[in-house]
């Protein structure tokens, strides 16, 4: 394969973007194996971050750095899941925290000493949380996804709030007292303490990063398949997608359930790391922060949304004086981005073909150009 000087992109419309664009186009010019080679050191750096505690980046003494990194990671995982729903399929899910909460409660109910449910090892609660939240996604999605997309937004908003209220209302969930001593993965340190003890940031961070990488594989494979194309087609023009043979309802439901499952997974990891689950922290503003992470990073771009999640979480922990303003800040960020830069920080069109590189090379002798536009930049599609 040619290592290729990548095709020069069209003239940058803003000069300050040219460096980023150049970086992106040279990245896109690399072959898949080369990209994988580059990913190894990047992944290694990401892994050692909480141990290194690089001075300027460190959030201590205000907030334990390892915890910050875990928070970023679980937020990033949730953002990757929400991105499937919002960024890929174009369905606005404003109650994503509801799935996150259900995942947390699943992990707690199956492992906590305060639950009389049959107990299972913690690691088994991760798939269990995914299956159960996906089920809730189906239950919520089936009536609403048949309708106009905008109804989904308010129904999910209500759903998020309802899950939170049920946390207080259903006696077995124990309201604010919550479920204590959530399980954790096995393994002990030399001194006999559990590696994955509650509140222990670094190992949980590593576990979450591994999970994120696995999820990225899955989501990436879907993106470059009939499924990912169906999602984008639905986002672009649902009517036409259907007339081109896309079973729109089925694929919307898949996107929704898939997003829910990943959200639940993130919630289960959260429950394990914190060590207890109560009805706090699952409010709708958290949903909006998830959404802000996706939009800020670049809706539709899974690497972008990880970056977005990092920014959203990190800013709160690093600059704690800003913490009180965080909702206001990210509310304003949403409006400003929508008006001036809907593609977010790292908006990039995703490849939708498993064998696209070869095809483009064969047809036009070079790679496709990946412009910085994405999901939200287009003008109103189709509908009058």
């Amino acid at each position: 394969m040619t290592t290729g000087i990548p095709a020069t992109p069209t003239a940058p419309d803003r000069p300050n973007e040219s460096a980023l664009r150049r970086l992106r186009s040279s990245w896109n010019g690399l072959s898949r194996p080369q990209q994988w080679l580059w990913m190894i050191p990047v992944a290694a750096i990401i892994f050692v971050l909480p141990v290194l505690k690089i001075p300027l980046i460190n959030t201590e003494p205000g907030y334990p750095f390892a915890d910050t990194m875990f928070d970023c990671a679980r937020f990033g995982l949730a953002a990757v899941g929400l991105n499937v729903v919002v960024g890929q399929a174009g369905l606005l899910d404003l109650g994503y925290v509801g799935f996150f909460a259900i995942g947390s409660y699943v992990a707690a109910l199956f492992t906590s000493k305060d639950s009389l449910l049959h107990h299972i090892p913690y690691l088994w609660t991760l798939p269990a949380a995914m299956v159960i939240t996906a089920f809730f996604g189906l239950v919520l999605g089936t009536p609403t996804l048949r309708l106009r997309g905008d109804y989904l937004a308010i129904v999910t908003l209500g759903f998020g709030e309802m899950v939170r209220l049920l946390g207080s209302l259903l006696p077995p969930l124990k309201g604010q007292v919550g479920l204590q001593e959530v399980g954790h993965p096995p393994g002990t340190n030399a001194n006999g303490s559990a590696i994955f003890a509650a509140g222990n940031g670094t190992p949980w961070y590593w576990l979450t990063v591994v999970v994120i990488i696995l999820v990225l594989f899955i989501v990436g494979n879907l993106e470059r398949s009939r499924v990912g194309r169906a999602w984008v087609a639905i986002r672009e023009d649902e009517d036409v997608a259907q007339m081109m043979g896309v079973a729109t309802f089925k694929f919307k439901l898949w996107a929704f359930a898939m997003g829910a499952a990943i959200g639940g997974l993130s919630g289960a990891l959260f429950a394990g790391q914190v060590g207890f689950v109560n009805n706090q922290g699952f409010d709708v503003p958290t949903s909006i922060l998830f959404l802000a992470a996706v939009i800020l990073g670049g809706s539709g771009n899974k690497v972008g949304v990880l970056l977005g999640a990092f920014v959203v979480v990190y800013v709160q922990h690093r600059f704690q004086s800003l913490a009180a303003y965080r909702y206001l800040i990210f509310g304003v960020v949403l409006i400003v981005l929508m008006i001036f830069r809907p593609q977010g920080l790292l908006g990039a069109r995703q490849r939708l073909l498993a064998y696209g590189r070869q095809a483009y090379r064969r047809l036009i002798g070079r790679n496709e150009q990946l412009s910085s536009d994405s999901a939200l930049t287009g003008s109103k599609g189709g509908q009058p």
Binding site: R146, Y151, P171, L334, I335, P342
Partner: protein, 333 residues
């Protein structure tokens, strides 16, 4: 239920208190209608904007809560507080009218500003619907937390206008003056708005834009002005709703006080048929009733919100165009 007992330490998941519902049925009904009137007025804002722009204006709940703050400040300024001021009826009515005007002004201004600052730039760019929705939720969030930073997280102290007094008794249950005021006012305002939309030249413009914005523009309707008007009318109604809300819940003025009420009002709009003003009234009253019954049946205030949400989902499942159908614009379900 049997399985809940064996799964989870004997406490069951849900208790149905049918006895309580039987005992309080009529009290719930009258209360539900009063709350329903409030939901209906807020629902009109959703319905009007949706009818014209096909946009769920998430920030409408904040338009409403701005009105509630205005009522609070106006009444505080007029000397109202945690106990009723004991004014003569004309003086009281005068004060309440002042507060109402203040609330309608505040809500109307916030609604129009919102349209100007957040939505109009997007319309100029012909942005896709998803962008509008995200902006709407961002705007809702922004306004909510502006109030949070300004007034803090706790609710304002109560401003009590007057204590409810029984006017007459039906089915062995008192009906108080507040309940009557609210329901009557909601119906009257609804009729006024309905006449405005259906009988006036401006209203005709609104209907024209709702049906077909492009043709309406070709026929000389000023689309931008119609949109502004729509937001303004929705805001005014929300302002009126805010007055009645404070009347019923004197200590309910809080930065996030509009959020759940907004979801209920939207459920009301969908239930009645979104884009349909009369539907908003019907839907509002129904949601008010169902939420009130649910709360008594299940035994906690919060159930009211959960029940309202469930109604929304069930309506969408079985009759997505609502009871009266969508009428302001053409149905596109």
């Amino acid at each position: 239920m049997h399985y809940t007992t064996f799964l989870l330490d004997g406490s069951s998941w849900i208790n149905f208190n049918v006895g309580a519902l039987k005992a309080e049925f009529w009290a719930n009904t009258f209360d539900g209608l009063a709350y329903g009137g409030i939901y209906a007025l807020v629902a009109m804002g959703y319905t009007l904007v949706y009818g014209v722009l096909r946009l769920i204006n998430f920030a409408h709940s904040e338009v409403f809560i701005s009105g509630a703050y205005a009522v609070f400040f106006a009444l505080s300024f007029l000397g109202f507080g945690t106990s009723p001021p004991g004014l003569s009826v004309p003086a009281l009515v005068g004060d309440l009218l002042l507060a109402c005007v203040a609330a309608m002004l505040a809500s109307g201004v916030v609604a129009v500003l919102l349209e100007r600052v957040a939505y109009r730039p997007l319309r100029k760019k012909n942005a896709p619907p998803l962008v509008f929705l995200i902006t709407a939720i961002g705007a809702s969030f922004t306004i909510q937390y502006l109030f949070f930073l300004w007034r803090g997280s706790t609710a304002e102290h109560a401003v009590i206008m007057f204590r409810p007094q029984a006017i007459f008794t039906v089915f062995g249950t008192d009906v108080d003056d507040q309940q009557i005021t609210i329901v009557v006012a909601a119906v009257v305002l609804m009729i006024v708005a309905d006449l405005f939309i259906n009988r006036t030249r401006l209203g005709r413009g609104v209907r024209a834009v709702a049906q077909d914005p492009d043709t309406a523009a070709l026929m000389g309707v000023n689309k931008e002005r119609v949109i502004m008007l729509t937001f303004l009318v929705g805001g005014l109604m929300a302002g009126a709703a805010a007055l009645f809300y404070v009347m019923r819940v004197p200590d309910g003025v809080q930065y996030n006080g509009g959020f759940v009420l907004g979801i209920k009002a939207f459920a009301a709009a969908v239930l009645g048929g979104i884009g349909n003003l009369r539907g908003a009234l019907l839907g509002g009253l129904l949601i008010g009733l169902v939420a009130e019954y649910g709360q008594t049946l299940l035994g906690a205030n919060e159930w009211s919100d959960v029940v309202a949400f469930l109604v929304l989902v069930i309506v969408l499942m079985f009759r997505p165009t609502g009871i009266l159908g969508e009428s302001l614009g053409k149905a596109r379900a």
